[in-house]
């Protein structure tokens, strides 16, 4: 293995770190961990911009002690023994004179940032794919490469380092902005980006949606955003506790028989799949909803500590300077029986929304909104004219009960950047299309 191929944090003396942690986790039920993180973001700006290339590499660690509903966190922007020793003292809240042995930390320097050939070439691939669709329009494409290496050391547990790599793409068009997450920058990704941008271009002067109750078919990408907002956020323990105990949601009926939703970080696409979460807990294939009934909410160690019914493994950190929160990583909606054309065939008059740009859930009122940048009218089961932006609104429970069909072909997509509570995280989904009966649509 050459220097550049070494996995960061693989040579940490985890035994010594765990020993130091056990000295501060000295009470029954204490949780102590160290989260080591290295991040790299390389941004290739559009050709007419300056600076043309943007690289950020940063690393550091966070020490955490959780005790009886309270957590103490000490974070640093360098990985060095003395700093770790000081951080351990800080979370233990002891006088600085108290001496904890500072574990030796051996961490290789990051490799120099390099813009990959696929990143350099991606804007050209997208432009080519747009031309193949017989379209041409002004486009400013920013392509970002995101990498993160992390390792969690707990008092009795030290799983292997994890690595994530994915891309994000932002397009500035004269009439709209659009963005997506991608796990690869290949021809099929370029084609997907081109398909969406061309649809936005063709819909720019499309007729507005007629507001009112309509039957709607959501394409896989729109369904991904819907599930993230309405199922994942609703079943995160930090949302559930706003209404009382998080485990009180177990067994609640949220939707019909067709709604089988799973969060499975280990089944996420290559590049973002995980074995452990950001708290070092093994991830599980978690049935959020089985036949519409809540089976296992998204919980981190904090929530699982307060209830024997909750299972940890969904702890995620936006950054080492932030405490972990329970979040989804990769959602799946199990496929149903119908093809997309069959789902559409049942719609006499309605809308087909292939993608959603964002969504919002008010966890206290159950009100939601889902924004779609464009769509197609459906008449007698056939796709018709393009329509402009629309918004689905209503109550979560009503919408989930309105699902009358689930497609039989799932697609993987980036559900997008989640920013709940100010914590920015990429989220992924593998979902088929869904058909919704009589939902409120606003232009």
């Amino acid at each position: 293995m050459t220097e550049s191929q070494k996995v960061p944090f693989s040579e940490l003396d985890t035994t010594a770190i765990a020993r130091s942690l056990s000295q501060i986790a000295d009470r029954e039920g204490d949780l102590a961990d160290v989260f080591f993180e290295r991040r790299e973001e390389i941004v290739l700006a559009p050709a007419d911009r300056a600076p043309g290339v943007i690289c950020c590499q940063d690393e550091g660690f966070a020490v955490r002690l959780a005790r009886e509903g309270k957590s103490w966190l000490a974070t640093r922007d360098e990985i060095e023994s003395g700093l770790l020793g000081a951080a351990l003292k800080q979370v233990a809240r002891v006088v600085p004179a108290t001496s904890y042995p500072a574990p030796l930390l051996k961490v290789d320097r990051p490799d120099p940032p390099i813009v990959s050939a696929e990143q350099l070439d991606f804007p050209r691939r997208v432009t080519r794919a747009i031309r193949q669709r017989l379209a041409a329009f002004p486009l400013q494409l920013t392509v970002r490469s995101h990498r993160r290496w992390l390792r969690v050391v707990r008092t009795q547990l030290s799983p292997d380092p994890e690595h994530e790599r994915f891309f994000s793409c932002e397009a500035d068009l004269p009439w709209a902005r659009w963005g997506t997450l991608l796990t690869r920058l290949d021809e099929s990704a370029a084609d997907r980006v081109a398909r969406n941008l061309t649809a936005l271009f063709r819909a720019r002067e499309a007729q507005p949606v007629i507001s009112g109750r309509q039957n709607v078919v959501l394409g896989p990408a729109a369904c991904a955003v819907l599930l993230h907002e309405l199922v994942a956020h609703a079943l995160e323990t930090d949302t559930l506790v706003l209404g009382g105990r998080a485990d009180a949601a177990l067994g609640a009926e949220l939707g019909g028989d067709l709604l089988n939703v799973i969060d499975d970080p280990s089944g996420a696409p290559e590049g973002v799949k995980r074995t452990t979460d950001d708290e070092g807990t093994m991830v599980v294939r978690r049935w959020l909803l089985r036949r519409g009934v809540v089976e296992q909410p998204l919980a981190d160690l904090f929530a699982a500590h307060s209830s024997t019914s909750l299972v940890a493994g969904a702890g995620r950190r936006g950054h080492r300077h932030e405490a972990p929160v329970p979040r989804s990583l990769h959602l799946e909606l199990l496929c149903g029986q119908s093809s997309l054309s069959e789902l559409l065939a049942d719609v006499d008059e309605g809308l087909y929304l292939p993608e959603a740009s964002r969504g919002r859930l008010d966890p206290l009122t159950g009100d939601f909104s889902l924004f779609a940048p464009h769509g197609r009218i459906v008449r007698q089961g056939a796709l018709g004219d393009l329509v402009g932006p629309s918004r689905l609104v209503g109550k979560v429970a009503d919408l989930l009960r309105s699902i009358r069909g689930v497609g039989n072909e799932a697609e993987m997509s980036g559900a997008g950047w989640c920013a709940k509570g100010g914590v920015k995280l990429p989220v992924w989904a593998t979902t088929p299309a869904v058909a919704l009966d009589s939902v409120e649509v606003e232009a």
Binding site: A45, P51, V53, D58, S71, T75, D77, E78, L364
Partner: protein, 444 residues
């Protein structure tokens, strides 16, 4: 014996040299370090964080392309720089920085754990006292200090210290199925937050949202509190900030060249004493100054980057360049934006006297969502809550109300300005006192 680490200027010099060796003829190095404390009570229990952050950033360019590289810790002079790309990046020339006294409160210690928990619990107690059954869903208090040094190949040698604190509160009323309300405040020190006022503000918003009636369309005199007025001012930023702002503002000028009421004076001041962003230089190392954007209703200038200011100056007389770019962190590029952008208060006018002067109208005190400003259609609307006012007395609560009207009417309709200037963090500190406006409408 370990050799002493080089100081900021030696370190920056070695980085600038290494960039020059890579044929990046113009370059700039920013070094930043800071520490912060954060206390949160909410769904994840009580979380106390303490961070020590250190980072650096480099912008460098040659005649054809450019790069921005940043990292945590300290930069290594032997770093391998990536290939620059895109276009050449103009970097600012060195400018003389006026005398600067570092504010004394920068040296005060950061909040302690007990102090911050005490403040949040105090707010929760007061909230429940004001509105029994209400709950604080989230309280987040942050305070930090930092030191920034900027060096460039054009001779910029700037440095400054800063300090900021923020308070984010989210609360819900005692009624089932009602939505939460949220406030975000910023000060230089945690000790400047007023827990009683914050709790009252939350309780007022919750009560108004729940009890207020929704009026039909009405016009009349409108007393607009600072929290609403700062959102209106923030909504006007396309007329005030950026190189296209003067052109956008042109369409609002009347025959005398006025854009607004005689009482409309808008200023941005990066050196505002006591301000959260008070600093001698901006995120590029250029000196900050008070810039009058609108004076007694007359449009003077927009807040623009130094490149635009220099281009404009070359057509008239030489001018001192002003720094108007801030960096959110060392990871971020400097971006044009307000530091302390505010509507100038009238020190001799009290809010009570303005309220007392209203025969029939509304007193709109809190925003309840984001508004929309459409400059092409010359229309705006903003969701708010407040009170009906008759003969100088608040008579009934109002909720689910939208202020609406033309942007021109908003600019020209200011009849009076009070003295209670207050700032909110809205992508820069935006400030306004209470204003009395006519010519706008409200609707449910």
């Amino acid at each position: 014996m370990t050799p002493a680490e080089p100081g900021p200027s030696e370190l920056a010099a070695s980085v600038l040299e290494s960039l020059e060796r890579c044929s990046l003829s113009e370059s700039e190095v920013l070094l930043k370090q800071g520490r912060s404390r954060r206390c949160e009570i909410g769904p994840q229990g009580q979380v106390m964080s303490s961070s020590q952050e250190q980072g650096w950033a480099v912008r460098a360019t040659n005649s054809r392309s450019s790069l921005f590289v940043s990292g945590s810790g300290r930069p290594s002079p032997d770093i391998e720089w990536p290939e620059p790309d895109g276009q050449s990046l103009p970097l600012p020339p060195a400018q003389e920085v006026e005398e600067w006294q570092t504010p004394q409160d920068l040296d005060a210690s950061l909040m302690s754990e007990s102090e911050s928990i005490g403040l949040l619990e105090g707010i929760e107690r007061e909230l429940v006292r004001e509105l029994p059954g209400a709950r604080l869903l989230k309280g987040l208090l942050e305070e930090g200090t930092s030191e920034t040094d900027i060096f460039s190949s054009s001779g910029i040698r700037g440095g400054f210290r800063s300090r900021a604190a923020s308070l984010h509160l989210q609360a819900v009323g005692p009624w089932s199925g009602s939505s939460a309300t949220m406030i975000l405040l910023a000060e230089r020190e945690v000790r400047r937050f007023q827990p009683l006022a914050a709790a009252k503000c939350l309780a007022n918003r919750l009560l108004l949202q729940h009890q207020g009636s929704t009026p039909s369309r009405e016009r009349g005199e409108m007393l607009i509190g600072p929290a609403v007025a700062v959102r209106l001012l923030a909504g006007l930023s396309p007329l005030l900030i950026g190189s296209s702002a003067p052109q956008a503002a042109k369409s609002y000028r009347d025959r005398q060249g006025h854009i607004g009421s005689q009482l409309l004076t808008v200023i941005d001041n990066g050196r505002l004493p006591g301000g959260v962003f008070e600093a001698p230089v901006d995120g590029e190392g250029l000196p900050t100054r008070e810039v009058v954007l609108i004076e007694h209703g007359t449009y003077r200038q927009a807040l623009v980057g130094w490149e635009r200011a220099r281009a404009d100056a070359s057509r008239s007389t030489a001018t001192r360049l002003t720094g108007n770019r801030r960096r959110d962190s060392w990871r971020d590029l400097p971006r044009l934006g307000p530091s302390h952008l505010y509507l100038k208060p009238q020190t001799d006018v009290s809010v009570a006297s303005l309220l007392g002067s209203i025969a029939r109208g509304q007193y709109l005190i809190e925003p309840v969502g984001t508004g929309l400003f459409d400059f092409q259609a010359d229309r705006f609307h903003l969701p708010v809550c407040g009170f009906e006012v008759q003969q100088g007395q608040a008579t009934a609560p109002l909720s689910r109300v939208w202020i609406e009207g033309s942007i021109g009417s908003l600019l020209r309709g200011i009849q009076a300005v009070a003295r209670d200037l207050s700032f909110e963090p809205l992508g820069g500190m935006i400030g306004s006192p209470t204003i009395l406006v006519t010519g706008l409408g409200i609707r449910g």
